[in-house]
Amino acid sequence: MAEKPRILIIDDDEDFRISIRTLLQSHNYDVIEAESGKQGLQKIREERPDLIVLDIMMETIDEGYLLNQIIKFQKDYEEFKRLPILMVSSIQQDPLSRFPKAAGEVEMITPDYYLTKPVDIPKFLELVQKLLNQ
């Protein structure tokens, strides 16, 4: 019997983690959590999730973008390069247009998958399923 798919939620909002964790667990997923980008990177190594749900604005305005960038491009994380990342944010804005650039900040790559918070539940579950089946 196959093991339950493992999903890592990286979000600094505890309440969002609680509701989404409960939702995912009720659909028979194994859920782990991280409350910061730093903790997230650690959990990726330790827990080897199958999918990441990643918040964009945490301690800084683009912490999620940075993390996405690290996982996709940094040599240290090469083995996780293909890990699907579903990014979420409450900022109602076209995610492809990216957030306004702060002074001196570098251009970030756009997310592969993005949903606005609060996430539409059927859409969210469908996307999670699809990404895990890839």
Partner: protein
């Protein structure tokens, strides 16, 4: 000897003149100075290349066939207003030179001119365009900061509502189970806390808007801060007692009156005292002292709390900034308390400083101007 400066970045200069002798002599003089020079025999050609190369400075003859110098200036500045333009003109066209300056040229050089004159005017022009670029960069940085600030504020205001909405959506989606009523109860409590957080944030945000409108500063009166502080200490005694935190005050009876606004000063000290309790440890202390200090009254609010990391001291007066750590994780706050304090004090012409040691505590020192008749 040329002052070649290629090591940093070679300045690019375009010379546009229909006279081939002029083009040759200008480029010889300027290349000797270490600039990279490109010459064009008419405005159309010059303009064609400006988009790709973006020169730092343009030397242009006013009197040319086809597109005249004035038109060139106008079109160049449509492309990049920071490109510095020097016009060359014969004696007969001083009038048009003035017109060129009005159109945005930096300076003009009447013919005939010496190599030194050309060198000097180009050097000054480049210095000016450097300044213009610098100030433009600063302007852009400031705008970008402002934009990301707006993004940040809207995020802070939306987060509590998003969390609550997500709870409701998930609850509606979850199938009934024996655990569900308990979960429901717990999530209602959590939602209520988030809504309170949002209400506090809006209240503080409005307070800041009110202070910034200058309403408080308009009617400054003489205020005795001793009763304000004593009343606040009484009001928060119970909150402090729950965590066995000792609250003490030391205020001399002859303390000078300050210039201010009663409700404003009450808000200021209330924020400081609440913080001193909130970020304290159980069985800790909060000591408030006041004394005259020259033209000011100095109030110190000291706590024996968790302290503030040194590299974060500059940030704590920034709107919505909150230190995220294990120690602060469960302490609620809007991130607007200290910004409000700072704005009140600025409005009154005083100042606030902070000294802190991690794990030992912080002291906020408030200097309020004494009341003068």
């Amino acid at each position: 000897m040329g002052m070649a400066d290629g090591s940093i970045s070679q300045k690019k200069i375009f010379v546009i003149d229909d006279d081939p002798v002029m083009r040759l002599s200008c480029s010889k003089i300027l290349e000797k100075e270490g600039y990279s020079v490109e010459t064009y025999e008419d405005g159309a050609q010059g303009l064609e290349h400006i988009n790709g190369v973006r020169p730092d400075l343009l030397v242009v003859d006013l009197k040319m066939p086809k597109i005249g110098g004035i038109e060139v200036i106008r079109r160049v500045h449509e492309i990049d207003v920071d490109i510095c333009i020097v016009v060359i003109t014969g004696y007969a066209t001083i009038g048009t030179a003035v017109e060129a300056m009005k159109a945005g040229a930096y300076d003009f050089l009447p013919k005939p001119f010496t190599p030194d004159e050309l060198r000097l005017i180009v050097k000054r022009g480049l210095e000016r365009s450097d300044l213009a670029r610098q100030s433009q960069r600063l302007r852009q940085e400031k705008e970008a900061l402002q934009r990301s600030f707006i993004t940040f504020v809207s995020h802070q205001l939306q987060s509590p509502l998003v969390a609550v909405q997500q709870y409701f959506d998930v609850l509606r989606h979850l199938e009934d189970s024996p655990d569900k009523p308990k979960l429901q109860q717990e999530w209602i409590e959590r939602s209520a806390a988030r809504i309170q957080e949002l209400l506090d944030m809006i209240r503080d945000w409005l307070t800041i808007a009110k202070i910034e409108s200058g309403q408080f500063a308009e009617c400054l009166t003489q205020v005795d801060i001793a009763p304000i502080i004593h009343n606040l200490v009484q009001a928060y005694a119970e909150t402090a007692a729950v965590r066995k935190i000792a609250l003490t005050t030391q205020i001399p009876p002859n303390l000078s009156l300050v210039s201010g606004h009663e409700s404003c000063l009450q808000m200021l000290f209330s924020n400081l005292i609440v913080n001193a309790i909130k970020y304290n440890k159980d069985h800790g202390r909060v000591d408030i002292t006041a004394a005259d200090a020259g033209d000011f009254v100095l109030v110190n609010v000291s706590d024996s709390g968790i302290g503030i990391p040194e590299d974060k001291l500059d940030m704590i007066f920034e709107e919505f900034y909150r230190i995220k750590s294990e120690a602060t994780k469960n302490i609620p706050g809007t991130g607007l308390g200290l910004p409000i304090c700072k704005k009140i004090i600025d409005e009154l012409g005083g100042k606030i400083t902070v000294a802190s040691k991690i794990n030992e505590g912080s002291t906020f020192s408030v200097y309020l101007p004494k009341f003068k008749d």
